[in-house]
């Protein structure tokens, strides 16, 4: 083959430019830390990256949902414990008040304390988590219980709010005031107990003590189901964080460069470039003219 100067020059130029392109690509990867900067860099990796990102994004929302739910359920849990212990205190008072030998003035004092406990229970039932009244079912913007004299009204509804804690898995939040206070007749019985104390009606007091036990059973049952939900949430959030770790790792494998690898490639590419420059200098210079007198 006949070789001309231009052929050599073009070849040298093309090779230099190819080498520089490779160096540029490696430098780009090093400075961005990413292997894939547009789909055509690696379509297979691209679709995985996009899917992993979507999963991670949904997971971060589920984590937020779970955290939120946990806060609410912990408050609800405390509230139910509070209600339970308050009812225990009521029971103790009722036992004392049921004693035939107790003077009526003491019963009046017990009734007075009971009234305050009723107020306390209402206060607990009206607990809110940053402005959200948790015992009101869907009606979370108003305090669910309202006392007018001896009548306590429930203003919430019977809908249990649900939160999605992972894909297609929803979980109940706080039980409604309807199940806790209305269906059990908690306040009617407490008022009735108070009236019995004031009226010295010990048989009525005894009867209400029986009712009180049933109410406490119900409250405790709700509390334990709430505890079960809390542990389920805990389990779920572990699952989510495991999944996060796994997907972050997968994403990184598809998306991130291995720095040592790229640096090494860059060095070798730079060497090749240096070599091609030296070769160019040697090949391009000489011509017959240099050697003619």
């Amino acid at each position: 083959m006949r070789i001309t100067y231009n052929m050599t020059a073009n070849t040298v130029l093309r090779n230099l430019s190819n080498n520089l392109t490779r160096i540029e690509k490696l430098q780009d990867q090093l400075s961005s830390g990413k292997k894939v900067s547009r789909p055509s860099d690696d379509p297979l990796a691209t679709i995985k990256i996009m899917e992993y990102r979507t999963t991670l994004s949904a997971n971060s929302q589920y984590t937020r949902n779970t955290d939120f739910l946990k806060t609410e359920l912990e408050v609800a849990d405390k509230s139910l414990q509070d209600i339970s212990s308050t009812l225990n205190r009521v029971k103790t008072l009722a036992v004392r008040g049921a004693s035939e030998s107790l003077p009526q003035s003491s019963r009046d004092a017990i009734a007075e304390e009971l009234d305050q406990l009723i107020d306390h229970l209402i206060q607990v039932a009206n607990t809110d988590v940053s402005g959200k009244y948790i015992f009101g079912g869907y009606r979370t913007t108003i305090p669910p219980l309202e006392r007018q004299g001896d009548v306590i009204n429930y203003r919430g509804d019977n809908n249990v709010r649900m939160v999605e804690i992972s894909k297609d898995v929803t979980i109940e939040t706080t039980p409604t005031g309807k199940t806790l206070f209305v269906d059990t007749g908690m306040f009617e019985h407490l008022i009735s107990l108070k009236n019995a104390l004031l009226g010295g009606d010990t048989s009525q007091i005894n009867e209400e003590m029986g009712n009180l036990d049933k109410i406490m059973d119900r409250v405790n049952a709700e509390n334990s189901s709430l505890g079960a939900r809390l542990s389920r949430i805990e389990f779920n959030s572990n699952l989510i964080s495991d999944k996060n770790v796994r997907y972050t790792d997968l994403l990184s494998k598809q998306e991130d460069i291995e720095i040592e690898d790229v640096v090494l490639k860059l060095y070798s590419q730079q060497n090749i470039y240096q070599a091609s420059l030296i070769a160019a200098a040697r090949v391009l210079q000489p011509s017959l003219i240099d050697h003619l007198g």
Binding site: R2, T4, N10, T46, E51, T54, Y138
Partner: protein, 474 residues
Amino acid sequence: MISSFLGIEIAKRALFVNRTALDITSHNIANANTEGYSRQEGLISTTLPISLPSVGIIGTGAELRSIRRVRNEFLDIQYRDENRIKDYWDELKSTLEKIEYILGEPSDSGLSSTIDKFWNSWQELSTNPESMAIRGSLKEQAETLLSILSHIRGGLIQLRDQLDKDLVIQVNNVNDMAVQLGALNEEIKRSYIRGQSPNDLLDKRDLLLDRLSEYINFDVNINEVGEAIINIRDHTLVGINNKVYKMTVLDGQVLWDDGSNVYLKNEQGRLSSVIYARDNLIGVVDDRGYNYETGILNAIDRLASVIFNRVNELHGTGYGLDNSTGNDFFSLIDAGKGVIASNIKISDVILQDLSKIAASTVMDSPGDGSNALNIARINREFLIDGSFTIGDYWNNQTDSLGIISQRANWLFENQNTLVDAIEKERESVSGVSIDEEVINMIRYQNAFSAASRILTTMDEMLSILIEKTGVVGR
């Protein structure tokens, strides 16, 4: 009997031939870096000999028969065929690169991630439907989504318009080249008729044909008077006697002057590439009267309309904090236009009062986020072609473009290597080698010097005859 002056004549011819050959060498060296130049060489041959009776035939020196350019026509045809394909992929590759840039994937701020965040905002609202702050951030997230949709669509439309402009520029280039080719044909014809080979003009014409091959597929036939007749399919671009048929662009289509279509489908070359990218990859939409089912523009509109319709459908069934119902979440900016990605806004009712965002499925239920949850769960519904979720659909569209783009890159690289190889072969035949020219220079110089010496010798011999003869005894 031969003339005593024959020797001088031969020496004169030698001087002339070698000096002219040196001129050719000089011309070659001068054009060593001229694009499209083919090296030229003089064809030197012996002149008619003289027959001497009883002696034999005696030579009468040399003459320059012709100056020819060294070129392989077959390589030209090969070059143009492959170059056309190379430039097709080159053009397509750079358009795809721009589309990928507009789509901006994969990234944390791309459409895919923004759609995810949009659904997340509904999830967030479903857990805290009473919160005005969360309603506010949902509104912001929805606006981000709309602005990205509209930004991508705008970018694609801009690119499409740019391709339209490119097409016009390219067609103008083709027309210009056709005109120049016609003019060159005329000049070449004049030389041909005189029986000469206009090497430099032929080089110029070949270079123009090389350039033309970037744009379009054509056939060249050189007729007996040296005119290059250029046909595109069965339509003539450059005919005999400098007749040039031009192309125009009308409504984005390339037409001949007589109104018929220029055949460009699957023909490679830049023109085909631009049209393919515009009509099939981006996809011209209805504002121009065509509506292609393929193309990324169609995809983004489809995506936008699915989000628009489904969110509105679910939103209309729910209740806001103020018990309002039947409200649309999204509305059209310009009701006259359809549901396209750049024509969507958050409806005025919602913008004026965020409490109207219908998070609940039941009235009087500020704490009910179940409708918001339903909307958040749109992300897992197979709403497109019955088999794609919104997210999958977009990922797939992006990825198919990535695959096409990757292929275009590969094919361009391969084709580039091939064209380089042919170019090298062509350069090997036609390129000027300085070393070679310098050697020729020395050869001709030596021959010239020798011829001068012969002339001097002849001169001396004759002067002996003229001055010394017949003076014996003087």
